[in-house]
Symmetry: C2
Subunit: 263 residues, 2 copies
């Protein structure tokens, strides 16, 4: 995705290719996580005595990484959404000045706390090789968790680009739906059940292909777990992002254009 | 690998399984890196004005991560070797107290500067999707680089476990070779050309299996590049680690046992 060329970013074909490629990353990351125990102590608030920190071990480790990555401009990119937006540092590199692609309030659409919750409660127990703690691998497990969380977060918040592309492609329709606060209408307009079904089928194929050692025929992960993760969490939360984004879209629209559609 | 049970760590079957699993991680990480440009400015010394730092952008980013991970005990683990051992912080968690598995000088066997050199000079240009810089992806490229470097480093330094296992399995042979400083003899004793050939064949199969989207049939990486990386760099440097480790092994041996073999 070349964010320096806004016109290409909002082509639905390009967005779809990016989403398909992200599936591979998510599958890879979950396979890597599956090497380790579920490690519940990593997700228990203040289980470890970390100085000046109130939260879980995973949150602490993720915060360290976000602080480091904020300095190398990660969160300037329109497709990167931090878990701790209030605790980042200024980049040590000159700013990139991305052209405007998304609405100005876009950074405020952030479902990372929901992602953290379902990931820890629903995904970790299902992908881990065993339940329980393995003390010397808590760091490795949380490092994998961070990769998974960041990849899932990027995938879900990519809904903003989908939403913006749809808005641009049919302003009259969306302005009307938004003015009427017609959440159901918006949801219907962004839902394509056939595409969703295809995603789930593709994920099972990918999980089988990447998750089985082709020389040992040993499976590292259950393909259905990954499909279910998409079905129950990633797809619905992506829709939430799209709807939340669209519901506020008129904040960033020319008032005259809005007025024209009000009648 | 359960480092709390030293007797299982030094079983060659377990070491081999761990090495085979690491191939998957390395292949995954290189596939992820292949999404980005070669990004030469990331590897150019002092290209960016980073305050209080003398080195490349990649080195700076890697150092930030190592400092964070040192606090969560990453470098206490006997299979993790830092690139910046002198700049780490103390863990914020209680120490794990791993049982002794490797010789006491083991941390001094560190070929990470050689790994950094061949990775940057030989691997990056071959796996990147395009040559040149893409300014807004320098952070993403270096984040992938860090994953690749850490996975390759872990794989190569695992040679220490191979070396220790071989030493334990035939002390009389190795003590004699070491006393005679017989580098060639040591190299011959740790080399198995049939196994090496099999690794290369397996890598091509894995790179094809993981590197091709099974629903699009698009290849993300050239399988031969990964096999060549192992052939030219990973296997030879692993041997170097094994030999360096063995050449010093008597520093950590009972002098009486050494004496007995001197005659």
């Amino acid at each position: 995705m070349d964010f320096m060329k806004p016109e290409t970013v909002l082509e639905l074909g390009n967005i779809r290719s990016a989403l398909v490629r992200m599936e591979d990353t998510i599958v890879f990351d979950l396979i890597e996580r599956s090497q380790f125990y579920s490690s519940p102590s990593v997700y228990e608030k203040n289980k470890y005595n970390i100085p000046n920190f109130d939260g879980t071990f995973l949150e602490w480790a993720l915060l360290q990484l976000e602080v480091a990555h904020s300095q190398i401009r990660r969160y300037e990119a329109p497709d990167e959404v931090p878990f701790f937006p209030d605790q980042l540092k200024k980049p040590i590199l000159p700013p990139i000045n991305y052209p405007k692609i998304l609405a100005s309030y876009s950074d405020e659409i952030n479902v990372n706390s929901e992602i953290m919750k379902f990931y820890v409660e629903e995904i970790v127990p299902k992908v881990s090789c065993k339940q329980g703690d393995q003390r010397e691998n808590l760091g490795s497990a949380s490092t994998c968790d961070i990769e998974c969380l960041q990849a899932i977060s990027r995938r879900i918040h990519f809904g903003k680009f989908v939403a913006e592309a749809k808005y641009q492609s049919d302003k009259p329709l969306y302005i009307k739906l938004i003015l009427n606060k017609d959440v159901e209408g918006i949801e219907n307009s962004i839902t394509n059940s056939a595409v969703e079904q295809k995603i789930l089928e593709r994920l099972v194929i990918k999980a089988k292909s990447y998750g089985v050692d082709p020389t040992l025929f040993q499976s590292k992960i259950e393909p259905e777990v990954i499909a279910k993760l998409y079905k129950d969490w990633i797809i619905p939360l992506t829709k939430k992002v799209e709807i939340d984004y669209l519901l506020r879209r008129l904040e960033d629209e020319d008032p005259e254009i809005v007025e024209k559609h009000r009648q």
